[in-house]
Amino acid sequence: MLRFISGRLLKAVVILICITVLNFFLIHAAPGDPASVMAGEAGDADPAFLQQLRERFGLDQPLYVQLWIYVSSVMQLDLGYSYRQQLPVLQLISERLPATLLLSLSAFVISLGLGVAAGAFASARQGKWADTIISLAALIFYATPLFWLALMGVLLFSVQLGWLPGFGYESVGVNYTGIARAFDILQHLILPAMTLGLFFMAVYARMTRASMLEVSRLDFVKTAKAKGLRPAVIQRRHVLRNALLPVVTLAGLQAGQLVGGAVLIETVFAWPGIGRLMFDALSQRDYNLLLGVFVVSAAMVLLFNLITDVLYRLVDPRIRVAS
């Protein structure tokens, strides 16, 4: 297992460098640069000012020099300096990381827990009203655009009913501490986490249901039934466990995106996370910041892919034996 993990880690580092280089060129191929955006925001500029900005940011250097400087910095775990925000990229990302992780992990737990439970429940009652309702709800949440769900959530729970705050990470200007602060953050978290979770919940529910139905037709389930096991035990121990492989794959993919943030949800709910940071960096051509977010996100995707592969080997002994 250790050899497997170290081999995969080595590959991951090579892939990460390739992704960084590719992203670097993609970003620089987009029209405009941070100097022109910053001059544009100021509403005034002269050639001296633009030149001054480009020199300050090193944008007057040839592209290959800029690339070399960037990649060698990344190799030393230095993600550089944000042109626009005038702060180290690592600091900006780490400031936003807790909010993003809280939102993504909550959505992840909600969607995985409720999605798998709903899918298992529906598959056990195939063709009955519970199955129909769950399948229909899953289809609706799967097909509805997230931003629309988010806005409807705000309209209903925040504007009409006044139950939940409609934006932000916590109440501003009240200085809660301890439990009171945690409760305040939880209140702010419910709407964005539920909205973000609904989509994946629908996916997990559909996938679990389909996979469990498929597995339940296999011979070993018939054997279990013939042995006289209770249906609940068959579903939990035999069907669900064997049906989880595609769910683990999807969970791995979703987990890889945890750090990348959720641009739409973070925007609608003014959630101070990495998704919004990335979007702003893109529109402002803040190269270092954008590349920094990409590097961190890519690293997380690679890490979770690795974890998924390890989990495969634990969940399904056939893979372990085959390799």
Partner: protein, 515 residues
């Protein structure tokens, strides 16, 4: 003999009158959109940075809604009869937020050193200045090379914020750590910035105007989505929505909420004017009759009434009516598609489609581009809209890679500061989207603008600007659209919210909450 322009006595009396009614205490929640990169306005001068930083830093003067100078850090000033010497006397008892006293040395450092290195707008203004000196701790004298009458309107926080010498001298200005925790002289002190969430300012208890500011705290909240900003105001989480922070189609709904007030005031200094750049280098835009046809084809009343909810005003020409020296000069091009068609026929326009670059600033501008496309199409000019983001728009326009492009610019208090840069031949330079991007060149107009800038006294400037406006309106180098109106929406409990021509960034020292 020197003329005393303004005495602090009158101002003090006014201030006392306001003070009599105002109630101290309370906090305000405002929107700041988008989140600024920094609030150090000696370096970053975009609108959100100014909205916050304008309460931390101050300049020598403020301006009332008629652009008449008012005291700020300067309590009084005199201008010599020949218009060449401006002497400012600083307020008594002004302290930086770290407790150090403000002196004329800070003013010298700011205008001669810091801003010369960091601020293009300031550099332009200072091209008219021969020298700046400080005869004593309280006095600053600007000697001009020529009588540049616009100078008195160029001393706002927007162009000339006064910065602390003891913090910046001898340092790398762009990376000085103080940029993140700004130290100014203003009515509010920087307290905390939770990036992505809010910026918190607190009352400066040592402010030199006794009793001010009235408010204890200001929270500038970051809410990236337009619909969510509207909801935040609707649910009472936000007290003030600065002009331009929500989409226009949300404004009537918000304005009609209970206890909600709105004002268009506070934009007199910036006087944002929108227009279509018509690339004069390319046919058919190089033909004055084609450009006139575009003007006749545009239904600007529709744009004002429908797209901008009646806010703003149809532009009559290159100067906003809020600016000194504005005159309504003919021709002003009322909507007349028949006339547009006749002009196009006269020049034998072949109907070749043109590309239109909208401003990527949200839904209102997209809708406006659609309306312009329809207007021009109705007159027989087919138009294709090209989508772009802010960076792409900057690059395309500053490299002259467009046929027709939307823009709007601040006019900054005087035509010699904020208008002539868009039409003079000397202002044609690639790589800059704030100069003569359309490529119009007319030596007669160049001379008129050059003479008008340094003519003295003001009456002489008026004559020259009248001629310049007439010439431009005949030549139509760009298609002027609207004097934009950006209403500020706020809870009616907030009083004296806008007290200067620059609006919210400068007015928080006067604002208070009715109990």
């Amino acid at each position: 003999m020197r003329r005393l322009l303004f005495a602090s006595l009158a101002f003090s009396l006014t201030a006392t009158a306001v003070l009599a009614q105002a109630v101290p205490g309370g906090k305000l929640n405002l929107i700041v959109q988008p989140e600024p990169p920094s609030v150090m306005i000696g370096i970053t001068t975009n609108a959100p940075a100014l909205l916050v930083g304008g309460n931390i830093y101050e300049s020598l003067l403020r301006y009332d809604e008629n652009l008449k100078p008012m005291p700020s850090l300067a309590k009084s000033w005199t201008i010599s009869d020949d218009g060449l010497s401006y002497t400012f006397v600083l307020q008594d008892g002004v302290k930086w937020h770290d407790g150090k006293p403000l002196t004329s040395a800070d003013v010298l450092f700011s205008v001669n050193d810091f801003l010369m290195k960091m601020q293009p707008r300031h550099r332009n203004l200072m091209t008219h200045v021969e020298s700046v000196s400080a005869p004593d701790d309280k006095t600053v004298v600007f000697k001009l090379k020529e009588p540049f009458e616009a100078f008195i309107r160029g001393l706002s926080f927007y162009t000339m914020p006064i910065l602390p010498k003891h913090i910046y001298e001898g340092t790398e200005y762009a990376t000085n750590p103080a940029n993140d925790k700004p130290i100014g002289t203003g009515p509010f002190k920087f307290d905390e910035w939770k990036r992505g969430s809010y910026i918190h300012l607190v009352k400066n208890p040592d402010y030199y105007l006794k009793g001010k500011p009235y408010l204890d705290e200001l929270y500038y909240q970051v809410i990236p989505d337009g619909a969510s900003r509207s909801v935040a105001f609707e649910t009472g989480k936000i007290d003030v929505v600065p002009g331009g922070s929500v989409e226009n189609f949300d404004i009537p709904r918000l304005r009609d909420l209970p206890n909600t007030c709105s004002t268009e005031k506070g934009w007199e200094y910036f006087a944002p004017l929108s227009w279509l750049w018509l690339n004069n280098r390319k046919p058919p835009m190089d033909n004055v009759k084609f450009r006139q046809a575009v003007m006749y084809a545009l239904d600007r009343e529709f744009a004002k009434d429908v797209l901008w909810n009646g806010y703003g005003k149809v532009a009559t020409g290159p100067l906003s009516s809020k600016l000194p020296f504005y005159k309504n000069v003919a021709p002003t091009y009322a909507h007349d598609p028949a006339k547009a068609k006749a002009l196009l026929k006269e020049i034998g326009y072949d109907g070749k489609p043109l590309k239109l670059l909208p401003l990527p600033y949200g839904e209102t501008w997209q809708r406006w581009a659609e309306a312009v496309k329809q207007n021009l199409g109705d007159a027989g000019i087919p138009v294709e809209i090209e989508a772009t983001d802010v960076a792409g728009w900057n690059q395309r326009t500053s490299n002259w890679d467009y046929d027709i492009a939307f823009t709007y610019l601040y006019q900054n208090g005087d035509p010699a500061i904020g208008v002539d840069r868009n039409y003079k031949t000397s202002q044609i330079a690639k790589g800059n989207p704030f100069n003569n991007v359309e490529g119009y060149s007319n030596p007669t107009l160049d001379t008129l603008f050059d003479q008008a800038a340094v003519a003295y006294p003001a009456a002489k400037r008026q004559e020259l600007y009248d001629q310049a406006q007439k010439k431009l309106q005949e030549d139509v180098p760009v298609a002027w659209l609207l004097e934009l109106g950006f209403p500020t929406i706020y809870n009616c409990k907030v009083q004296d919210l806008v007290t200067t021509a620059s609006g919210l960034p400068e007015s928080m020292r006067d604002a208070w909450i009715k109990k």
